[in-house]
């Protein structure tokens, strides 16, 4: 087995030639890493260090509306050996509250937590309660905290359309809950974990959950959205067996590809270009390896003990993938992308950011120090 030093050198110095131009052209931003062994530690203080290493949040959020896409995958009732979802596949409410606190301290005017809660259009607060979260504590973490379930219209009266700049991979544009538009700053707060379809779930893949099931769900209306969705997005997003509601832009080459390992990474990359992420946070204090949720066979609970943040989602995910023991530039067929395309490289191809560790300024704890091999 390679030493940590050798491994970092390998993944930093061997970008694939055909991707070199995209990697050098795509923007980069610093990534900050901090150790946090347990949720019993002062998570809020650790997050403070993390954000300070990025230069602070004030310039980004002061006086602004900040929308934070949480990572709450699947039904909260499905659990790995009875563990609370936040200890395996959901972001932890202590991290969520800590982020809200720092955003508030940095002067954010309004902090809106969003997630397309599994198979429901009900209030996001109820999904949080069903996950064992203390919603009242979250509300008091900062002034102006709001919640929106983006699985349907929610509190708005219409959807917002996000056009993919340049050449879209899958859809020319995506219709999302208006909370994704009515914001000055967009944050992706994700879990450090694998994904059965995409290899890794990090800040980019987290945003696949921005798609409302009312339009992109299995039971979405054919013509208009179904404002009472009760299913996931398998037939539209993963399988390409049906189009989204006709009210939304349709798939570009419908029927051409039914491979989830192709489709989902391409959709995620599209979304990352259409709805830019200003701050990417990846939480890996405790997590899950082997998949994105307890329903994936062979998953196991892990304790990487790490928090990662960055001002560019591709750079942040590249560092996070490296912390997990993966080459962020690995191609299809190589772990963790054995059966899928590399979302990071696809986002890089859209010019969202560079997945080249050699160009990324990693601050705080080094990748080698934070390394926690998910495939060990």
């Amino acid at each position: 087995m390679m030493t940590r030093r050798e491994w970092i050198a390998t993944i930093s110095a061997a970008p694939l030639l055909r991707e070199a131009s995209a990697a050098t052209a795509a923007p980069v931003a610093p990534v900050s890493i901090a150790r946090c062994a347990s949720y019993d530690e002062d998570v809020t203080a650790k997050l403070g260090v993390l954000f300070d290493q990025l230069g602070g949040l004030g310039g980004l959020v002061r006086g602004k509306t900040v929308t934070i896409k949480l990572n709450m995958t699947g039904s909260p009732s499905i659990r790995l050996r009875g563990l609370a979802p936040a200890l395996t596949h959901y972001v932890h409410p202590k991290v969520v509250g800590g982020v809200a606190y720092h955003l508030g301290q940095a002067g954010a005017r309004r902090i809106r937590f969003v997630e397309s809660a599994w198979a429901t259009a009900g209030p996001l607060e109820e999904t949080m309660l069903d996950s064992g979260w203390n919603v009242r504590a979250l509300q008091s973490a900062a002034a102006g905290v709001e919640f929106e379930n983006t699985n349907a219209l929610g509190k708005s009266k219409s959807y917002a359309r996000f056009k993919v700049p340049g050449n879209a991979y899958m859809y020319p544009a995506y219709d999302l809950n208006r909370a994704f538009e009515d914001t000055d700053v967009f944050v992706s707060l994700a879990k450090l974990k694998n994904h059965a379809t995409c290899g890794v779930t990090l800040s980019l893949k987290n945003c696949f959950g921005s798609l409302p099931a009312s339009i992109y769900g299995d039971d979405a209306g054919v013509d208009e959205p179904n404002e009472s969705p009760t299913s996931g997005r398998d037939r539209v997003g993963h399988q390409g067996r049906r189009q989204p509601s006709k009210s939304a832009p349709q798939e570009l080459n419908f029927g051409a590809n039914h491979d989830p390992g192709y489709r989902v990474p391409h959709i995620v990359a599209d979304l990352s270009a259409a709805r830019p992420i200003h701050l990417a946070i990846v939480e890996g204090v405790e997590s899950m390896a082997g998949g994105e949720g307890p329903w994936v066979q062979g998953v196991r609970a892990v304790k990487p003990g790490v928090l990662i943040a960055g001002l560019n989602p591709v750079c942040t995910d590249a560092a996070a993938a490296a912390v997990m023991g993966y080459n962020p530039r690995a191609g299809r067929g190589t772990a963790p992308f054995q059966t899928c395309d590399n979302t990071l490289l696809l986002a890089e191809g859209h010019g969202v950011g560079a997945a080249d560790l050699g160009r990324i300024d990693v601050r705080g704890v080094s990748i080698a120090q934070a390394l926690y091999r998910y495939d060990s």
Binding site: T73, G74, S75, P76, S77, I78, R79, R81, G82, L83, A84, W118, A119, G122, E126, L129, D130, S131, G132, W133, N134, R136, S231, G232, G293, W295, Q297
Partner: protein, 470 residues
Amino acid sequence: MRGDGCIYVLACLAMSGLAGGQAGASPRLPKIADWVPARWPWSDAASLDLIGGGPINCLLVRPGTAEFAASATSRGLATLAVVVPGDDVLTTARRALAAKVTGIALEGDFSADAIAAVRQAAGGAIVVELGPRNRILANSAAPVLATNQGVWPGMPEMERMRAGPSGSAWIDTNTGFIRGMRAASDAPLWIANQPPPKTLVTAVRYMQAIADAGMSGARWVLALDDGFAARLAKRDPKALADWGRMLALASYFERHPEWRALPEYGKLALVQDPAKGGLLSGGILDMIAVKHTPVRPIPLQNLAPGSLKDASLAVNLDAGALTSEEQAVLRDFTRSGGTLLTGPPGWTDEAPTGDKITLDKRELERLNDIWREVNSMVGRRNLGVRLFNAASMLSNFLVSKDGRTAVLHLVNYSDYPVENVSVQFLGNYKRADLLTPEGVEKPLELYQTEDGWGADIDKVTVCATVRLEQ
């Protein structure tokens, strides 16, 4: 524990007071309504030390000897000999009565003639029928309603391993059956099913079985698997500790007899014949319970003006079974603003036959049609109480007739404690207390919610109760 020609002796430990009118009882016997039954796999008097001062007052021993019956009696125990099909029924019963047992328990499916013969032989001694569910209401005037048919409560293994990110966890439970029976009869109800064979039954699983019956006002006839019984006989420290936890849980429900007297509450009412579909586990009542919707079972035979008081939604499974008077009650309910959901066309509620106590696949598929409508009708509505982070739990919500006191029982069917459970109550409650079998009794902070009051519970191990006062 069963065998050819076996006699089980169900011994009931006197807890207090004099016998409540049952003939042949020791003067020290408690009322039959207070009997807390258990199967007892030992026949030596020393084994009775395991009962100590605990709540269990019904023990199953084998063989049933005069010596054991005398020992039991000397400790304030009443004894019942259990006779099973295959025995020479009358001879076995007479032999047991000659050994000075208090009465007879007929376990299994006996003919009416055999039951009558045993009753005659017993004279004034009590005869308890631990029969199949579909016979339970045939003897509704009995001092105890009992059945030896039950599902083993808990989350099925396949549920734990289920694939896909969707859905709620299913829970095997006897509560739907128990609640239906208790709505139809005031008699004490015993569930006398035994642990699944060839299965490692943990203390937590035993406690779930105790709590499953207890929260619905019934009693599980405690039955130990052979391995656990052997370890307990050797006074294995771990087994003794587990036994202590089980007794503490049984004691928890016995310390609060007032809970059994509280009527169930829910703005959703289910009209069902307890002698038909109500005999099954996994039916519509259990489906609704898994969704944490408080639902009040109303026996079809009890449907009368006023029985739907406080209900805003009602489900009537078998529209064709109603008399014109019963139809008028439901018509008045809808005219006064209530929403009524009836079973799918052609649906008839049928009594189970033979040993069947759960729905088969075809019946489940049929029931799914109405279940989807119920689910849609209920939506996010608070019909008395809403629970959050309670996927592995079932609950029972009880409210006094004057509405001033309410009790919410929570039972956790997973192998792990559940933390951070939130409950939201309809109504204007001023005080809430959390009680647990572990001895916790503490006030809960109440906070205002969209349609009432909420409270947060830190942790539920197997069982917890929220007591509310206006």
